[in-house]
Symmetry: C2
Subunit: 225 residues, 2 copies
Amino acid sequence: MSVPSAPSKRAAPDDRRPAATPRRRLSGAARRGAILRGALGVFAARGYDGASMAELGTAAGVTRTVLYDHFRSKQELYVALVEQQNALFLGHVGARITGEGSTSERMRATIDAVFHFAQAHPAAWALLFGAMTGGDDAVADTRRALRAGQVEAVAALLARDAHEAGLDRDPAQMAVIVEMLIGALTGAVAWWRREPSATRDAVVDAAMELLWTGLGRPAAERERR
Amino acid sequence: MSVPSAPSKRAAPDDRRPAATPRRRLSGAARRGAILRGALGVFAARGYDGASMAELGTAAGVTRTVLYDHFRSKQELYVALVEQQNALFLGHVGARITGEGSTSERMRATIDAVFHFAQAHPAAWALLFGAMTGGDDAVADTRRALRAGQVEAVAALLARDAHEAGLDRDPAQMAVIVEMLIGALTGAVAWWRREPSATRDAVVDAAMELLWTGLGRPAAERERR
DNA sequence: ACCGTAACCGACACCTCTGTCGGTTGTCAA
DNA sequence: TTGACAACCGACAGAGGTGTCGGTTACGGT
């Protein structure tokens, strides 16, 4: 990606560390944590291909080669980061799912938890739900595996409610619906990011309006009167 | 992206043209068309960053440098292709939207048209709705602009129905809902691609079940009896 | 038949990127 | 205090990528 006549507009991937930090040496574990912390922002902003080891290094406060003392390759670093953030996401949402209340109340709480995560950890959200492309085959496999885990988790939730409601859906239809749910929430977050003035409650309301109530409800109401 | 010890698994971006074609010279317009046709598959499969000019060239039946006789840069080629395919998409869906039938029938027809496009033009779908990452800032701007156009088109459709139904939504809520709709359909297509045995009708059914009926409807039915 | 336009290509210049290697030096335990 | 482990870095090698330039030659208009 080099354009001699018209230089790239991307931020210069400067190899220098910020001069502010006065050259500290950290323990292995601490540096590894710093690398992951910095990599989160870089990968989220530039995607897998767009992020260079040089930029990843400066974000962690070290030079490029240090990364290879803690991770075998860029791919391994990325996979470790994504798995870490996915675990955080599942923990965050799982901790907020209560078994109490009506079905709609529980669904609302779950959606709210998802949006809360997106609000509190925007970079992690971008890493996990944006940027589904780029990278090696192994990277794509990792993403697929995590997505499958998310789908399974949501499907289990829905299945419980569907069973309690006394109806059992076709499992294939269930899978599509879950995939659409995730896609819909991803779209909602993308919009919210462009319109940050909206409150989380308003976004949750809109999500419930579409996913719980359904677009057909108003028409049905109209027919009834 | 080179790993000396473990060579990349990607297909070798061979600069040679397929020996089968016996060296034909085309008119400018024809070659330009061939380039766009070939680029569709390559960009869809590898994404913007992953596609190299060499591979784009072989896909079009010429060497790399010929591309620069027809497009000023990789970016310009990509933008031209995406705009072309987006126009095709809007035309395809627009042609199938009928003003007749009930609101739910019209919505079903629209969703069916979208899925039909995804089925008939998988590469175009991947180009337009997968791979929202990678590339230069200008590329990202193009994608944003096209997405905005799609959102506006769908919003206009919905607004008409909402108005006819005698209710006017908050425009902000409307925008979120449209974004979620697109995300949901994208998710459904992604699932369908992994499970091609499902019929289009079945996928449309699932989509209507979620987006039109809503997940809450079964619960409501249960409460009523 | 021919001639000029432009489609096509090989070679070149330059850049960025990943990953390796050997040396240097901060830091902690003994 | 001192020695060794490992955190850190500069320089190197190799690959691949984009875009340019000048020459060659197929092909259509006359």
